[in-house]
Amino acid sequence: LERSAKSFNLGAYHTLDTIYNWMDTLKAQYPNLVSKIQIGWTYEHREMYVLKFSTGGLNRPAIWIDSGIHAREWVSTATAIWTANKIATLYGNDASLTTLLNRMDIFLLITANPDGYVFTHTSNRMWRKTRSRNSASSCIGVDPNRNWDAGFAGPGASTNPCSDSYHGPYAHSEVEVKNIVDFVKSHGNIKSFISIHSYSQLLLYPYGYKCTNTKDYKELDSIGKSAASALQSLYGTKYQVGSICAAIYQASGGSIDWTYDNGIKYSFAFELRDTGRYGFLLPANQIIPTAEETWLGLKSIMEYVYDHPY
């Protein structure tokens, strides 16, 4: 076990066990701010933990951040770890974050696809999906970002179980997705939902399952552009901002489309950087710069959410 959260190397990639152990040390170091909540089990019966940053209160308005729903996108997981540490260390030292946490909670799901993440460490570094078995095929896994009940099985998701974008047999068939859905529904007061992916430098908002603008399109675009500008201010990393459909492609069954359609107006997805053309294999020495710039983008969104209650 890590003896202190301070001795943990935030600039390295880690196994799931190491990450889960580190969560305990973070919790132990900041007991009045950080707690670890189990939101369920994975298909292969691993725990799914979310870190809760809270200064008290009951069911406060909250911001949700998840990362690593696609297993091979290691830099998103590493960025979330850095972000958790940042939130813990900044509380009480940064006026803006302290003010926010005095009224709101932050939930951080560092590994949204634990089975897949373990599989990338042990068997296949290029694995993207969950590890659930399909009764009708020998191919394993479902793309957990095509499995949400938002235009499920529509354009931009595959019906082929062997495809990396297979949508699964039915919406929320993946227990990892269902765990998040149940948590979000039961909480009922999440105001912003942010999913972190990698790579290709995009800041996206709904919709992906259809190519029409949301009713909040203008506001989301403006928030996204401000966040991308804040992010770029550190190292000059350029982000494209837009709806999923406009910026990349039509993709149905995605997380932020579901959250938006379920009343969470401030729903965004980041595709983190790879300015060095490494794709999913971003070298570890780029974790901290990536996390630092991402933090500025996240902070920009979180501050906006705080200032615009609904």
Partner: protein, 93 residues
């Protein structure tokens, strides 16, 4: 642990709908075992694809025959993975 010896990642420029259709058709050919890191979606947006050594010649030939520009984004995926593993071992030590 699955090895990716000789796998390359190509970055392919998509100039028009014809290019897009060619890439989509390649995407559907399962025997090529292509892994699209950024799938073909629209013109003007580059496509990144990991290509196993057995399919490299076919893909490069197909791109060249259709006047599609590409560059090798990663020369050997396994070399980067080896480096990544080494760094993780070092970190654990």
């Amino acid at each position: 642990q699955k090895l990716f010896l000789g796998n390359q990642v190509l970055r392919i420029k998509v100039d028009d709908d014809e290019h897009l259709n060619i890439l989509k058709s390649l995407e559907n050919q399962q025997h090529l075992e292509l892994d699209f890191w950024v799938p073909p979606s629209k013109t003007g947006l580059s496509v990144d694809v990991r290509v196993p050594p057995a399919s490299l010649q076919v893909i490069k030939h197909s791109l060249e025959a259709n006047n599609m520009q590409y560059s090798v984004m990663i020369e050997d995926v396994q070399a980067i993975l080896d480096e990544e593993q080494e760094q993780m071992k070092e970190n654990r030590r």
